[in-house]
């Protein structure tokens, strides 16, 4: 059964568990995707799936992913926020799956905001 592959991965992950416990304390970045009805209709699920894939691909550990509901900017969905310590909280709007790798690569890795997609900022 092809489930075995996943079981093996589970064991592997278990081996790495102590590392991850320490990694958890050093999380510094948060990515928040808005998944209200409006977000879902605009493709939030596809953005989340792509985000997880991209984080895996780049083996990024210090990021926690979370979500929020409708924040009232339904026409700009899918909304994706990046919160880095001591920096402005940046809201990206009309995000589609192909934007995700740019946001992860530029903003999360290199610390450069992807200006063309920004719809809002909250100063830290």
């Amino acid at each position: 059964m092809n489930k075995l592959l996943t079981m093996e991965e589970l064991r592997e992950l278990r081996k790495k568990a102590p590392d991850e416990m320490t990694a958890r304390q050093t999380w510094d970045t948060q990515v928040i995707v808005s998944v209200g009805t409006c977000g879902i209709a605009a493709g939030a699920r596809e953005v989340v799936t792509e985000l997880l894939k991209e984080l895996q691909r780049r083996n990024i550990k210090n990021v926690s992913v979370t979500k929020t509901g409708c924040i009232g900017m339904c026409e700009r969905e899918v909304l994706l926020d990046v919160v880095r310590p001591n920096e402005d909280r940046v809201t990206y709007g009309r995000v589609v799956p192909r934007d995700v790798s740019r946001i992860v690569g530029e903003h999360l890795v290199n610390g450069r905001v992807v200006e063309g997609l920004v719809v809002g900022r909250i100063s830290s």
Partner: protein, 185 residues
Amino acid sequence: MQELSLHILDLLQNSVEAGAKKITLVVKDAPEEDELSIVVTDNGCGMTAEQCAKATSPFCTVRKTRRVGLGLAFLEMAATLCGGQLRIQSSPGYGTEVVVTFSHSHPDRQPMGDIAGAIVSALMGETEVTFEYLHIYKNRKMKISSLKFGEFLGIPFRFDRPEHLSLLEKNIREQLQTIYGGESS
């Protein structure tokens, strides 16, 4: 909404916003009985009978909590358009159960779509939630439980860890593939 899995995402999101700590999803795909049903049960804050009656009305929404809105209205429409129905049972302080049924063979019945992606999107970031998912197709079934995942991992399963979420998503996809064995829903 164009897929049933997007409605599932919406239902799970409702449960999360109702403060549920335990959420159960049961999907029964029974073409031989011409039935497809989705049941989401949670132990969230629940609704009064009055709120329940209004829950599927699109513009009668408790804006402060955003527990209801267009989501349930869309789902009810999707169900009644193809010979099914939506039922909500809820009790304040105990939780809510949403049951939605569809006529499996109805031409307007929406396709199932990507359930794994929907579950992960709905529950991501929820560190307090435990989740169970049972999927029945004909006489085959699969079960996923976030607690079981935690036991395998040796550390609690966390919905805010990207690698845990990826693993959950992959496992759901693989198990679904196994029970469907190449047949489409």
